[in-house]
Symmetry: C2
Subunit: 207 residues, 2 copies
């Protein structure tokens, strides 16, 4: 099935501003994207990065086709879904995912298979029903379940910690240091981040 | 295999103090425990609640045996592990778990199977190696992987969002309202909590 990875190229990951500069957020977002693309390629997908602006970066173009669409996420995705092809959509900030997580999505028999993110978002969708449309605003996981229901599509929810772990906020960085072994983990370590085990949940500190 | 659910009966869930009174935290913790025990029974386990004090509550004693041990979590569990029996340990604050998540743990061929929690904790352990001991302090997931390695035990990590979602902090309550359908979800709804979709990640508000 077709595989899309939406990417907003301008000022990504704004909620990491307390711990990373704008330039750092860009290079860190790129590292996470490389992890996601490598996993998709290892799972035999041929990803297309659906970017708000052109991307001139060998490491990305070696792993993916680039398609430019400067519309916001929801209309940009829905324009592709309107073409009626089965489509896998995977967010670019999931550096922990492994090939078997993607295969769980692509092998599902449901019309719409959803991987919820922590806090009610939608981190991945495998869509076989040509009438299903996305809406990424707010608690999109519940909205997507309802939307599938409304078009009579069967829904499966994937239960995966790795697919659920999107990296948005400073505390999320701990998950990469605990479980990651790819480009994002290397970048964070090189940038001086380490685990902080002094509080309740493990956080991060920067040297 | 033997199945233990450790429970601290005095002042549970202190990190929920910003949104729940001490009495509410006790009844909410009980609702989560009932969800966990129901799932364990449905997965053909015969759970023992390892409690710091006696529990006189029909709904709990209908689902589990009670064993009292007033020591802290780590020594209380390790005293049981020293008896050498294969043991499943499941935390009491995992109201989203389903029987198949437990079966993933009990069916694993590894000497030690770990379900990490968000933020580096350990939410469940299936232990077949009689020399393995727990240490629940700090980033216990990484510590448990290392401890297994040190005694030559094979390790498997279970990838489950439901097993990873322990309920410690106010934002965690959103996960129950999004995904839950048991006693904890009913309790929260009856207590006036609803989803708050105004921020980045979905949170909760109380009426």
């Amino acid at each position: 099935m077709r595989c899309l990875v939406p990417v907003a190229t301008n000022s990504p990951k704004s909620r990491l501003a307390p711990v990373l500069s704008p330039a750092e957020r860009r290079t860190f977002a790129r590292a996470m994207l490389l992890d996601v693309l490598s996993t998709l390629v290892a799972a035999d997908c041929q990803p297309t990065v659906l970017a708000t602006d052109s991307i001139d970066d060998d490491q990305i173009t070696n792993r993916a086709t680039i398609a430019v669409d400067d519309r916001p996420l929801t209309p940009a995705i829905n324009a592709r879904l309107a073409e009626g092809e089965p489509t896998l959509i995977v967010m670019a900030d999931l550096p922990l995912i492994e090939p078997q997580d993607i295969i769980q999505l692509t092998d599902s028999d449901a019309d719409v298979t959803v991987a919820p993110g922590l806090g009610g978002g939608t981190n991945a969708l495998a869509i076989h029903d040509p009438s299903f449309r996305v809406d990424y605003h707010g608690a999109s996981y519940l909205d997507h379940c309802r939307a599938a229901d409304e078009v009579g599509a069967s829904v499966e929810t994937v239960d995966s910690r790795r697919l659920a772990t999107d990296i948005d906020e400073p505390t999320d960085l701990a998950e990469i240091l605990i479980h990651g072994d790819g480009a994002a983990a290397e970048w964070l370590t090189a940038a001086g981040f380490e685990l902080d085990t002094t509080g309740g949940r493990v956080g991060v500190v920067r040297e």
